[in-house]
């Protein structure tokens, strides 16, 4: 559905000037090319949901803008359902829906109903289909509660639900979401995720999402494409990513009062004493199992409580971003 090969985007920026009349001299200062996307290649199958991750400034949004046809790349190729987005803008527009968390595609001064009707007419959606889709969207997004409210008066959560309805009204094959849950409360986030998951499940909509909210990824995506400094550093499934960057799990033990915490150990597990008095036994699941670690820990001391920590995507991403900064 989406084929991207050797995609490069460079922006020309003036060299910074200092000293007298620097603001004027800046006008003819030599330009330097800043590469925002540097040879990105990947392919997405129909019906896939892909998380496109990266730190701020890594090139995620620029890639999405090239895939949607908004920005023309410096070099490389993109085909979405066989169309080059920037060369076939109008035809391509019927195939895609886009939601930007930071900007609305709805008309600020018009009620949501009028915005959606305008989109209906722009994309030539028939009246019966329109009515059916509004009913369908309302089941999860509950947009009928605020259809007659101008966009400028909607809360962020309501506006995003309206934006998502607008993006899916013409039933596009591909949905791009650029930080769709930024600034939303947990209820609004969940409504958006439920809606996206349902569109994917029922209509096989291909979804590509950029986000800094790892819950979005964990709930929606099986596949991750991660970029850093404009280059793809990982393309694969979520479980493999976690194994690669956080290859250990952790059993956290709370000893009973009076028990000797120093005795709590397990073979093939690193022992850490936490400031709250708990003991962490960190182990590689390929060398030992959680059951073995728990059995050894409980055999040497009386235990008040214990739990197993799974590696979190958030920790993986933090690790990768920190590496990138270094």
């Amino acid at each position: 559905m989406i084929e991207v090969a050797d995609l490069i985007k460079e922006f020309q920026k003036p060299q910074p000037t200092t000293g007298r009349l620097s603001g004027v001299r800046q006008l003819w200062a030599p330009r330097r090319a800043v590469r925002a996307v540097d040879g990105v290649s990947f392919a997405v199958e129909r019906g896939e949901m892909v998380g496109y991750l990266g730190a701020n400034g890594a090139g995620k949004s620029t890639t999405i803008k090239m895939l949607t046809g908004i920005v023309v790349p410096t070099s490389g190729t993109v085909r979405v359902d066989g169309l080059v987005p920037w060369a076939n803008r109008r035809k391509h527009a019927h195939n895609i829906g886009v939601v930007f968390g930071q900007k609305t595609q709805l008309w600020f001064d018009l009620p949501l109903r009028v915005s959606l009707e305008t989109i209906r007419d722009l994309y030539r959606v028939g009246p019966a289909e329109y009515a059916a889709r509004i009913d369908e969207f309302d089941e999860v997004l509950q947009i009928k509660d605020f259809l007659d409210t101008p966009i400028r008066s909607l809360s962020l959560g309501q506006r995003m639900r309206g934006d998502l309805a607008g993006a899916m009204l013409h039933r596009p094959q591909v949905l791009y979401l650029d930080e769709p849950t930024v600034g939303l409360d947990v209820v609004a986030k969940q409504a958006l995720r439920d809606f996206i998951a349902e569109q994917n499940r029922v209509h096989a909509t291909t979804v590509m999402i950029t986000t800094h909210d790892m819950d979005d990824i964990e709930q929606l995506c099986r596949r991750i494409v991660m970029i850093d400094s404009g280059r793809v550093v990982y393309d694969g499934d979520l479980a493999t990513l976690k194994r690669r960057y956080l290859p250990f799990r952790e059993v956290v033990v709370t000893p009973t009062e009076g028990a000797d915490p120093t005795s709590i150990r397990a073979e093939h597990a690193d022992r850490l004493e936490n400031s709250d008095g708990t003991i962490s036994l960190r182990f590689d699941p390929e060398r030992t199992s959680a059951a073995a670690v728990i059995a050894q820990a409980t055999s040497v001391a009386e235990i008040a409580d214990l739990h197993v920590n799974e590696p979190k995507l958030e920790d993986v991403v933090r690790l990768i971003y920190a590496e990138a900064e270094r």
Partner: protein
């Protein structure tokens, strides 16, 4: 509510301008039967209709493109199944519809004050309508071409001030071109702006514009073809230059 109030206020503004124009031009003609061969009634009528054309066609005001480029919301226009140029022209057309109540107020008031001479003939009126419509389209395309500068400069105020200063004067909307020194006229006639206001108004008043009705329409069509080519070229270049501000 805000928009209805805005339309009502624009009607008040047009009414005020109509009264002022009629009063000032009559004062200019006090004790003079004609200036540069133009009678008082023709000059007053010209001033009122030129102001109404300005109001209805919003000439020399840029489209929303510069603001949308600056804020980055142009991104949402570029993912529509209608081109950016088409969206902008439709928006300009919508602005005309919004300006119609003001025009009605201006015409009624000018008639009541005796400041509006009717078109010289029915044919003159049809000629006026046709050339005013083509003139509006020409203004809309030129506005669009200047608006596109935003893709390079982000801030379009500088080019806009230059454009508006030249266009508003050279069209005859500020001062009828009868009163412009003869030495300047060839330069103004070489520009497209006189075809937007002055030539249609000459037809209204039964005067022979440069080249007659056929000459005006031919010149307008020529300029429309040239400005369409310019807009297409500038748009083609601009869409390769797009940078979306604000992430």
């Amino acid at each position: 509510m805000f928009f209805r109030a805005n339309v009502a206020l624009s009607m008040v503004s047009v009414a005020l301008q109509t009264v002022l124009l009629v009063t000032v031009w009559r004062a200019v003609y006090t004790n003079r039967p004609a200036v540069a061969g133009i009678s008082e009634s023709d000059a007053v009528s010209y001033a009122v209709i030129a102001m109404l054309l300005w109001h209805v066609a919003l000439p020399w005001q840029l489209s929303s493109i510069p603001e949308r480029v600056r804020e980055g919301t142009i991104a949402t226009d570029l993912i529509r199944p209608v081109g950016v140029v088409g969206q902008s022209l439709l928006q300009s057309f919508g602005a005309i519809v919004g300006a119609i109540p003001g025009v009605v107020v201006g015409l009624v008031l000018a008639l009541a004050l005796g400041g509006l001479t009717p078109p010289a003939t029915g044919a003159a009126f049809l000629g006026f309508l046709l050339t005013a419509a083509l003139g509006w389209l020409l203004a809309a395309l030129l506005n669009l071409a200047v608006s596109m500068v935003a893709f390079w400069t982000t801030d379009t105020r500088g080019p806009f001030y230059v454009y508006r200063a030249i266009a508003s004067f050279a069209s005859g909307a500020l001062v009828p071109l009868w009163f412009v020194p003869a030495s300047l006229r060839p330069y103004l006639d070489a520009l497209p702006f006189g075809l937007q206001v002055f030539a249609p108004l000459q037809l209204w008043q039964g005067q022979e514009p440069l080249g007659g009705l056929g000459g005006v329409i031919t010149a307008q069509l020529g300029w429309l073809a040239a400005s369409t080519a310019i807009v297409a070229l500038v748009t083609w270049r601009a869409l390769r230059k797009v940078v979306i501000n604000g992430g």
